[in-house]
Structure formats: C-alpha cells, structure tokens
Symmetry: C2
C-alpha cells in the first residue's frame, strides 16, 4: 500500500484499557466508601449499556447526547441495579469522569510517539472532545489533533464521521489509515474508502477471547500492538 | 480572578509570526526561481486581503470557505498584482501552504509548555483544522486540543466560535481565558463571558507600532509574552 499521510485511531479498547481502568477506579472508590461491588461485572455492564444508548441517538429516537451524557444515564441505572445508594451527586459525576482517566495499553504511548514522527496521528472516537482531551492530558497521549464524532453530531460507524475526519485533516480517504481493534469500525472505514489497520487487543474484555480476532483478511495491516504497527509502517 | 481551567489561543500574530515567516518563505522561493519581489509588502497585502475575504463569508455573500481557500484566492490576485507569472499550480499551492509552516514567536513553545502543566491549552483560530494541525506539528506547538472556527462554520468574532469552543472543552465561559494580541478578538470573547488575556506582540507588523497596544484596561491579564503570562497565572 502507498504510505498514508494520516492515521485515525479508535480510542476505547484500541488505545486505552477501559475495563481495567474502570475496575481500578471502582475498587479505589469502594475502599474509600466501604462498598462491596463486583467491579468487573459493573464495568462490563457500563460498556454494554453504551451501544443501545448510542443507537437511540443514532436512530433519532433521542436527540444528540455526548458519550459523557450517555455514560451518566447508564451509570444511574447501574448504581440502582448494583444496590449502590451511598454516592452523592458529586461522587457520581466523579465516577462518570473515570472515562476521562482511562489508562493506555502499555505499548500505546511509545507506539504513538513513533508513529507521530512520520504521520499525522489523530483520534476518531465516539468519545466527546472534552473526554478525549482530558484523557490525552492525563495519559500523555501525543495526538496531533483530537477529532470526535461530537464534531459531526453523529456516531461511528456513520459515514460522515470517517469522511468528516478526512476533510478536516485535508487528507483523502485513501491517504488515511483507520486504526482500530474492532472489525465493525474498520469495515465502515473501508466502505468509505479509508485504509485499515487492525490491532489485536485480546484482553479488552479482561480475558483472552475471540472477540478481537478479525474474521477476514481485508485489512491493509494487522498488528499485535502500536509498536508492531509502527514497525510495519516504517516509523 | 479565579484560575481558569482552559486557555484558548488566537494563533496568527499571537502564537506565530506570520509576517516574518511569509517573508522568509517568499525570499527562499525567489532565490530558487530568480524572482524580484517586495516580500514584506507581499506578506502585508496577503494578510490585508484576509479580512475582506472573510467578511464576504461572514455576511453570507459567499458560501463557507476555509482560510486555506481564502488565502489561495487572495494569492492568485497578488501574484498578478506583483507581476509573478512564473509559478506553476503546484508551486502556488506550495506557497499557499506557507501558512501551515508559520514559525512561533521565540517565547511561544516554552511558554505553552509551562501553561500546559496547569491548564488545558487549545487553539481558537480562524485557521482551518488541517492548517493548525500541520502548523503545530511543524513548529512543535504542544496543544492539548486544536479548535478552529471551521468546526462551527463561522468566523471569529462571531459568538458561536467562543461559546462553541467552551462547550467542546466542557468549560464554562468564566472558566475559560481567551489569549490574543488583538483587542477585537478579546472584546468579543469578553462579550460572551470569557476571561481575557492580552499579549503584546509589537512586531507583528514588522515594526514597533501602536497596533498591538490595548486601548482599555478591561483585560484580566496583560502580558509581554507567553512566559510572562505563565508567570502571572502561576504556571
């Protein structure tokens, strides 16, 4: 393939370990407040709630809401379901902001720094701009530019997100490589003319699983982590 | 004043020396192609053309165009006016991209790095996203986030640019400090509830002039450069 000019990164699961980070935040909160909660189950339920909540926005059943707002709504349901009644409004908001403090996979920062020497590196996430900006600051993610579905008021995998990101960066779709650990995201990017790189994140769900194994060979690059991606792209 | 959470920076003239940079690029091009051009006059005319071109967009007389597109149109007129007929289409595009390679004022990178340790630092420029992204990469500007009038499809000093930037960063206007070397920009920011910092850039027009002297005392901070700004903000 011709070298790309810009790399767009999915973030949740691809750059950061949302599950491990939420479990750690939850356990720290539980220790402070004397709670007894199954945090892995809580984290999985929080993430599982995101898709149906986003689909209500995508279908138009609900007006535009950011991921912060969607997460906050799901959190309220989960606190009730898990029997957590002790938290104040301020504590609930603080817990919701755990998504702004997600930690990168161990290879992510170094791999991104390598890739940044050769390419424009930007996010293309359904996370809102403030979430992604604070996450980058907290985790030291060296983005050239932060782009979010929020800018287009529609969520991936809508075409406008991929094409809108290319337009803002001034790169043609065929000069732009979408990097993700999820097939659906990459299939949509490819359908809009972008190049694709699949990164294996077998521990995204906390245990090795088939979830992150690509089922087809249609990706331009398949990498074990961001350093492996950098290596294959000559960075 | 209460400490702000985020700082928004005007870019042309405030962070980068557009005039000195364009003159240097023009002279290098002239040396390569054997041209004889008054580059300071050329740079001034290019910048002077930006405001009326932008106003045609702001008034609705012209549909949305990015600064890259506006600069390209003005460049065409200037090449004719200055009698420069030798340049190919590729050379014209390359010259237009000189705006992506503007150099920062000597204090800018260090001052921004200091400010970044304490605040979210973002651009709020009329320059388009790809221009600002490439400029940051080229000049080593350590933005947490790049925001542009392009995201709102209206130009400063329209209220939507200031309020839209605050909304994307998740900071209230009164938690957000607009930093600029131009009174009009700051007056509009203040009119929308933002805090303001005036930075003196007396050589923006190439000679010390009254152009960058504030006429009122309504700014929250007045600074001689970004290090002086950092000092006053405790960063």
């Amino acid at each position: 393939m011709n070298p790309p000019r810009a790399l767009l990164f999915d973030v949740f699961g691809t750059v950061v370990d949302w599950r491990g980070s939420l479990v750690r935040e939850g356990r720290a909160l539980a220790a402070r407040r004397g709670l007894d909660v199954d945090w892995p189950a809580f984290a999985d339920a929080w993430r599982a709630g995101y898709r149906p909540a986003m689909d209500r926005v995508r279908s138009g059943a609900q007006p535009w809401m950011t991921i912060d707002q969607l997460h906050r709504g799901i959190l309220e349901e989960l606190l009730a379901r898990f029997g957590i009644h002790e938290l104040s409004e301020a504590e609930r908001n603080e817990l919701n902001r755990a998504w702004h403090r997600l930690r990168p996979w161990p290879d992510a920062v170094r791999g991104l720094k390598r890739l940044k020497t050769k390419f424009i590196i930007a996010t293309l996430s359904n996370g809102n701009m403030s979430l992604l900006t604070e996450m980058a600051k907290h985790a030291g993610l060296p983005w050239d530019c932060i782009l979010s579905a929020e800018l287009f008021r529609c969520y991936k995998p809508d075409p406008q997100t991929y094409l809108g990101a290319c337009a803002l960066l001034g790169t043609g779709p065929d000069e732009t490589l979408m990097v993700a650990a999820h097939e659906e995201d990459l299939a949509a990017a490819r359908g809009n003319g972008l190049r694709t790189a699949f990164v294996r994140r077998p521990r995204e769900l906390g245990r090795p699983s088939g979830y992150n194994l690509p089922r087809d060979n249609a990706f331009d690059v398949v990498a074990d982590d961001f350093n492996h991606l950098a290596e294959q792209l000559g960075a």
